[in-house]
């Protein structure tokens, strides 16, 4: 539904204000929806055209319940796409919707200019619709049970990506199928090198000895590939697409899961920055240009709600405070070698060099960082103390949270380990031909936190079902080596000595 005239004139003004403040956005299209529609769109991850799967139905039930019982409410939903789509809630007040629009322009600028989004698919709306068509066709052809079973497996692997490739200078790895036209065929190791020819010419166009030569060369290359010449690999989905024996339709489904996971990955690794940036800008735009006098109280109320800290550290709040801190520090010159070296408290407090580079610095930060490097670069000891951050643990006996320390290094370490690798464990493929039996060997790079065992086992089974040979995962549980082996539908666990 299009915007009512009252809102669309505000939209023009906010857009102009964003532009004047230096935000560079894709075209942004706002749509007005009611609460149930918004829940539905959110259940599909923002794409009303997404493929059918029960997981979306589950998400929908959860969202409906929490908005009906007033547990939580979605304020805004914005899609990284060119043009950018954003949804406004029709039941929101004018003030709230103005706020949401200002917020959306912040996100939109971030999507367009942050380095981790550089390879992002910008026609995702269309892509998702194509994926949905493919999935539906698969369902028609192979039955809903088979497709659902395969999708369930594939989706349980969706966080096994290599987040490092997102900002790399080389384009994202997008595996190509090795299949012929036959839907059910599982490709042999060698592709078809035969050129098209008439019967009587075949011997000359495709001489047998040359064919044999090609085949052997290809086999040798494959062997080499399987030894992982580039070192261990983290993008397990791509690895499965390249090496697992999949029928064409399975390959297509897995490829869809891989592409969509890659699309959502940048948002996963820039949550704090993205929300902080958008919060910074809705605040700026609202206060500078958009807010009318009679709206101040409503505005303050809503903003207080979005920045409130409940059960968890609020990414909106943390991100916003960090951007404000950067701006203040670079405006007054409280950074760099001289400032760091100064240990006279009074002098530090009174430090004032009219540098005025605050705005420049935050635009720079939003372009080059993800959450990990952002926190690493800008979370200072001062900030940590000013905001009273601490590390807590849950007491194993009483199950109560207990404050452990306020030491800066520990706080920073805890924060970073929680978000590194998109908050997921780092799992790498080490060997595709483990024990020379075609088994897949994975290693969990343990960084102080154990895997959740029941989930790890279930996920391994899914991996083994796709790999079609045993899959081995090495990890540590309570500082002891463990080795899970998934084969033929069961998982066993070993404690190798040493």
């Amino acid at each position: 539904m299009n915007l009512p005239p009252s809102l669309s004139s505000w939209e023009q003004r906010i857009r102009a204000s964003a532009k004047a403040h230096g935000l560079v956005c894709f075209d942004t299209i706002f749509e007005m929806v009611d609460e149930e529609q918004l829940d539905e769109i959110a259940a599909y991850g923002g794409f009303p055209t997404r493929y059918p799967h029960w997981r979306h139905g589950m998400e929908f039930e959860r969202l409906r319940k929490s908005s009906r019982w007033g547990i939580s409410k979605i304020y805004e939903l914005v899609i990284n796409n060119d043009p950018c789509y954003a949804y406004l809630l029709s039941s929101n007040s004018l003030t709230d919707n103005k706020l949401v629009m200002a917020h959306v322009f912040g996100h939109c600028d971030f999507f367009k200019n942050n380095a981790w989004f550089r390879h992002s698919e910008r026609k995702m709306m269309d892509r998702m619709a194509n994926h949905a068509v493919k999935v539906r066709r698969c369902i028609d052809r192979h039955g809903v049970e088979a497709v659902e079973a395969f999708l369930d497996r594939a989706l349980s692997l969706e966080n096994l990506l290599d987040y490092r490739q997102l900002c790399a200078g080389t384009p994202l790895l997008r595996p190509q199928p090795r299949h012929g036209v036959d839907e059910d065929e599982v490709p042999a190791d060698a592709p078809n090198f035969r050129l098209r020819s008439r019967d009587y010419m075949d011997e000359f166009i495709n001489p047998p000895e040359y064919m044999e030569q090609r085949r052997r060369k290809h086999a040798a290359e494959q062997e080499e590939e399987k030894r992982l010449p580039g070192g261990p690999r983290r993008d397990l989905l791509a690895l499965l697409l390249e090496h697992a024996p999949l029928a064409r339709w399975e390959w297509d489904l897995l490829n869809i899961v891989h592409e969509e996971a890659l699309y959502f990955a940048p948002q996963r690794v820039t949550k704090i920055m993205n929300e902080g940036w958008a919060s910074y800008w809705h605040r700026k735009l609202m206060v500078d240009d958009v807010l009318t006098d009679d709206e101040v109280v409503d505005y303050a109320d809503t903003v207080a709600g979005t920045l409130a800290e409940g059960q968890s550290l609020n990414p909106y709040k943390l991100g916003l405070e960090l951007f404000l801190d950067i701006e203040a520090r670079w405006n007054s010159g409280r950074h760099g070698k001289d400032f760091e070296a100064c240990d006279d408290m009074a002098q530090r407090d009174a430090w004032e060099k009219a540098e005025g580079r605050g705005l420049e610095q935050i635009f720079f930060a939003r372009a080059v960082h993800d959450d990990v490097t952002f926190l690493d670069a800008y979370l200072t000891e001062d900030f940590c103390h000013r905001h009273k951050l601490f590390v807590y643990r849950r007491d194993p006996r009483t199950h109560k949270k207990e404050l452990v320390t306020r030491e800066f290094a520990k706080v920073k370490e805890e924060l970073l380990t929680n978000i590194v690798n998109g908050g997921a464990p780092v799992i790498e493929a080490v060997d595709l031909n483990h024990s020379n039996r075609g088994e897949l060997l994975l290693a969990h790079r343990h960084m102080g936190k154990d895997l959740r065992p029941d989930f790890a086992e279930a996920t391994l089974l899914n991996l083994a079902a796709i790999w079609k040979r045993p899959v081995v995962l090495e990890s540590r549980i309570e500082d002891k080596l463990v080795r899970w082996i998934a084969a033929k539908g069961t998982v066993s666990m070993e404690h190798p000595s040493g």
């Binding site: 539905e40 259940a43 599909y44 009303p48 997404r50 059918p52 799967h53 029960w54 997981r55 979306h56 139905g57 589950m58 929908f60 039930e61 959860r62 369930d152 989706l155 349980s156 969706e158 966080n159 800290e309 409940g310 059960q311 968890s312 550290l313 009273k388 951050l389 601490f390 590390v391 807590y392 643990r393 849950r394 007491d395 194993p396 009483t398 109560k400 949270k401 207990e402 404050l403 452990v404 320390t405 306020r406 805890e414 924060l415 929680n418 997921a424 464990p425 799992i427 969990h444 936190k449 154990d450 895997l451 959740r452 065992p453 029941d454 989930f455 790890a456 279930a458 996920t459 899914n462």
Partner: protein, 363 residues
């Protein structure tokens, strides 16, 4: 129109039902669903329906928070609000009791109950479905009346298409009339009897409580209107409320015949008109006071109780003190009686099996 989300949502509900069905045994034996029902639905925690991923274990559940407080201080001491990292949520799904009964029926392969004497238990309903030529003006059927008038005018040649005026006369008038419809009625009463003598411990009562809940759920699914009567007995029997039935703790001897006598009296005075499907359930640990009393019980059952009810179920819960003699006595004395079902319940895992014994006959 059915949108895409409805389809996905429906599929999700199907999966939930599948999960409940698979884990039914656990739900039944743990008794964790009791007391979760409100207004005809029950809220069931369904773990493990989400797709598994490689994630970190809950471990020590640490994180970063902000606020006041010193080292080592806990949640109650002036601390900060909280930290980061999400806890796992267990999905709670609401399922109607009817739905739950259907799942139970599917899993235990329970046959639908054929109500007793479908042909002879009838109730009368009046429906305004007839038409008569006489009646009060307030019930005049306007449309039918005009149709009759039109027919008459066409037949007698008075009808003029150019001037279509229809005038009904006395004979054209039609009136609505009520007709009596006879419908087979199924009403049922469940009579729960429980031995509360000293030998029935807390665990035994809990088993009875769980089993009674599921039996109620199934029978409610099968009958439109159902009543429940609760009787407890030790050496004497009396009728109690539902709450008392589950919470009462008596001690003393056991005279089962007292309960059967009260059950019979209840049937005669309140449910004796022959319109009721009657389901007495008796739970005990199988210890009776004397063999003379057991003989009296058998006599009561054979001559009076059994002929009146659809099914008489005796569930014997194993207890540390009970001899379990009563079930053997019943089986011996009334071997050919198909309205009598006896079942031994060893422990909580035996509940499902005994429900199948009781309700598997479709009576």
């Amino acid at each position: 129109m059915i949108g895409p989300i409805e389809k996905d949502h429906r599929r999700f509900r199907q999966i939930v039902h599948g999960t409940i069905r698979r884990d039914l045994k656990r739900y039944v034996s743990k008794g964790e669903l009791l007391g979760r029902s409100a207004g005809g639905t029950i809220s069931i925690p369904v773990p493990q329906i989400d797709l598994p991923h490689f994630t970190f274990g809950s471990g020590d559940g640490g994180g970063v928070g902000r606020g006041e407080g010193g080292e080592g201080e806990g949640e109650d001491g002036g601390q900060g609000e909280a930290g980061e990292g999400e806890g796992h949520h267990i999905l709670e799904v609401e399922v109607g009791l009817d739905e739950l009964a259907r799942i139970l029926g599917e899993e235990l392969e329970l046959p639908d109950i054929r109500p007793r004497g479908e042909s002879d238990i009838v109730s009368e309903h009046t429906r305004w479905s007839g038409i008569r030529r006489v009646g009060p003006e307030s019930l005049r059927h306007f449309k039918r009346t005009y149709r009759e008038a039109l027919k008459r005018q066409i037949a007698s040649g008075q009808w003029d298409p150019a001037n279509p005026v229809v005038v009904p006369v006395r004979e054209d008038r039609r009136y609505r009339s009520s007709q009596v419809k006879r419908r087979p009625e199924s009403r049922a009463v469940i009579i729960h009897m429980m031995d509360v003598s000293g030998s029935m411990g807390t665990e035994q009562k809990e088993i009875v409580r769980i089993e009674a809940f599921w039996i109620d759920t199934w029978l409610r699914h099968q009958y439109k209107s159902i009543e429940t009567v609760y009787i407890v007995h030790d050496a004497v029997a009396r009728e109690v409320s539902q709450h008392d039935f589950y919470h009462l703790r008596e001690s003393g001897g056991t005279k089962i015949s007292s309960a059967y006598q009260l059950c019979l009296d209840t049937i005669r005075t309140r449910f004796g008109s022959g319109e009721w499907n009657i389901y007495p359930f008796h739970f005990s640990d199988g210890d009776n006071w004397s063999s003379k009393d057991t003989a009296a019980c058998v006599e009561l059952l054979r001559t009076s109780v059994l002929p009146q009810c659809n099914l008489f179920c005796y569930g014997q819960v194993r207890s540390a003190y009970g001899s379990g003699q009563f079930k053997r006595d019943l089986d011996q004395a009334l071997p050919a009686e198909e309205r009598l079902v006896t079942s031994a319940i060893a422990d909580r895992d035996g509940i499902l099996g005994s429900i199948r014994d009781f309700l598997g006959r479709g009576r």
